[in-house]
C-alpha cells in the first residue's frame, strides 16, 4: 500500500525556470508594477479633473 502511494508521488522537482526565464519574468513583473502604478496615478488625476472643486464639496 505504502509502496503504491510512494510510486504515485512525482519524483521530479516540477517546473524549474532557467536563469533567462527568471530574468524575463522579473522584467515583466517590474513592467506590470510600473504600469499599474501609472494607471492608479492617472485615474486619480482624471478623477480630480472631472470633479474639479466639487472633490471637496461633500457632507462630512
Amino acid at each position: 500500500m505504502s509502496m503504491a502511494m510512494s510510486e504515485q508521488q512525482p519524483t521530479e522537482p516540477g517546473i524549474v525556470l532557467t536563469e533567462e526565464q527568471k530574468r524575463r519574468r522579473r522584467a515583466r513583473s517590474i513592467a506590470l508594477a510600473l504600469t499599474l502604478g501609472v494607471l492608479v496615478l492617472l485615474v486619480y488625476i482624471v478623477t480630480v479633473v472631472k470633479l474639479g472643486p466639487g472633490v471637496m464639496n461633500r457632507p462630512l
Partner: protein, 321 residues
C-alpha cells in the same frame, strides 16, 4: 525534449501527450510588439486630429486620457490579431519574427493580454470620458479582431477594403470623446482613411503576393491577379483624391488645406497611374514601393495640415480676441 512532453503524464488529471504551456520566455519588448506600435502611432495621430478638430473644450488631461484609451484599445486589437493569425504569420517572412510564431510568447498569453487591454480601455474610456466613445472603441476592437481578422481576412479579397473601416474609426472615437456626439467632419475623416486603405495595402500586397499565396490569404493580387489589383488601386486613388479634399470642398477647412489635399491627391493618382502602366518586374516593384511610401506620407500630410490649421486658427482667435 520539451517541458510539456517530459511532464505531461505527471498530473493524472492531464492525459499523457496533452499539450501544456511552456514557461514564458516573453520579454517586455515582446508584449509591446503585440500592440503593433507602428499601427498604434497612426491611430494616435489620426485620433489626435479628431480630438483637436472637434468643437468645444475638452480638458487636456481628459483628452490625453481619451487618446491613451484609444491607443491601448488599438493595441489590444493588434494583440488579438496576432493571437489568431499566428499560423499565417509563421508562413510569411514579414511576420515570422513576431512574438508568437517566434515562440517567445505563448498564444494564451497574447489572448489574455489582448482581452484584458480591450476590456480595460473600453471601460476606462466609458467611465472617465464618454460612453458613446467607449461604445465606438468597443465596436472598433470587435470589428478588427473578429470581423476582419477571424472572418474577412481568410475569406474574401475585399478583406482590407471592409476591414479598413476599423483603422478609420479612431478620429470618430476621439470626436465623440470630445463632443459626446458625431457630425459630418469626423465622418469625412473616416472616409479619408477608409478610401486610403486599399491603395496603401494593395501596394504592399503586390510586393508580398507570393507570401500571401503561400499563407493562403486571399489578397486581391493572389485571387484576381496583378493587373486587376493595379486597376483597383488606380480606381481607389481616383476616389481618394476628392474625398481627401472634401473637408475643404464642404467648407470645414481653408483653401490652404484644399491646395495641399489637391497636390497630394494628384501625386497619389500619378503614382497609381505609373504602377498601372508599369511593365512587370523590378519597375513594377519600384512603383508599388513608391506608392506604398507615398500613401503613408499622404495621410500624414493631410491630417497634419488639418492640425496646423486648427492650431493656427486657435492662436489667431486668442491673439485677436
Amino acid at each position: 525534449m520539451t517541458f510539456a512532453s517530459e511532464h505531461a503524464s505527471l498530473d493524472p488529471a492531464i492525459p499523457a501527450g496533452a499539450a501544456r504551456a511552456e514557461p514564458s520566455m516573453a520579454g517586455v519588448g515582446d508584449y509591446l510588439a503585440l500592440l503593433k506600435p507602428r499601427v498604434m502611432s497612426l491611430v494616435v495621430f489620426t485620433a489626435l486630429a479628431g480630438l483637436m478638430l472637434a468643437p468645444g473644450q475638452l480638458h487636456p488631461v481628459l483628452g490625453f486620457f481619451a487618446l491613451l484609451c484609444i491607443a491601448v484599445g488599438a493595441g489590444a486589437a493588434g494583440a488579438l490579431n496576432m493571437w489568431y493569425d499566428a499560423d499565417i504569420d509563421a508562413k510569411m517572412s514579414r511576420t515570422v519574427g513576431r512574438p508568437i510564431p517566434a515562440g517567445r510568447v505563448q498564444p494564451g498569453e497574447a489572448l489574455a493580454f489582448g482581452v484584458t487591454l480591450a476590456v480595460g480601455s473600453v471601460v476606462m474610456l466609458g467611465l472617465m470620458v464618454d460612453v458613446l466613445a467607449a461604445g465606438l472603441l468597443a465596436f472598433t476592437i470587435f470589428f478588427y479582431a473578429v470581423v476582419y481578422t477571424m472572418w474577412l481576412k481568410r475569406w474574401t479579397p475585399q478583406n482590407i477594403v471592409i476591414g479598413g473601416a476599423a483603422g478609420a474609426f479612431p478620429p470618430m472615437i476621439a470626436w465623440a470623446a470630445a463632443t459626446g456626439g458625431l457630425g459630418i467632419e469626423p465622418i469625412l475623416l473616416f472616409l479619408i482613411i477608409f478610401f486610403w486603405t486599399p491603395p496603401h495595402f494593395w501596394a504592399l500586397g503586390l510586393l508580398r503576393a507570393d507570401e500571401y499565396a503561400r499563407a493562403g490569404v486571399p489578397m486581391l493580387p493572389v485571387v484576381a491577379g496583378v493587373a486587376e489589383t493595379r486597376r483597383q488601386i488606380l480606381i481607389y486613388s481616383l476616389v481618394l483624391a476628392p474625398v481627401g479634399a472634401s473637408p475643404w470642398l464642404l467648407g470645414y477647412a481653408t483653401w490652404a488645406y484644399g491646395l495641399v489635399a489637391a497636390l497630394a491627391g494628384a501625386l497619389v493618382i500619378a503614382s497609381a497611374w505609373r504602377l498601372y502602366r508599369a511593365p512587370a518586374g523590378d519597375v513594377a516593384d519600384g512603383a508599388a514601393k513608391r506608392l506604398f511610401g507615398l500613401s503613408i506620407l499622404y495621410l500624414f500630410v493631410l491630417f497634419a495640415t488639418l492640425l496646423v490649421e486648427r492650431g493656427a486658427a486657435a492662436f489667431v482667435g486668442r491673439v485677436f480676441a
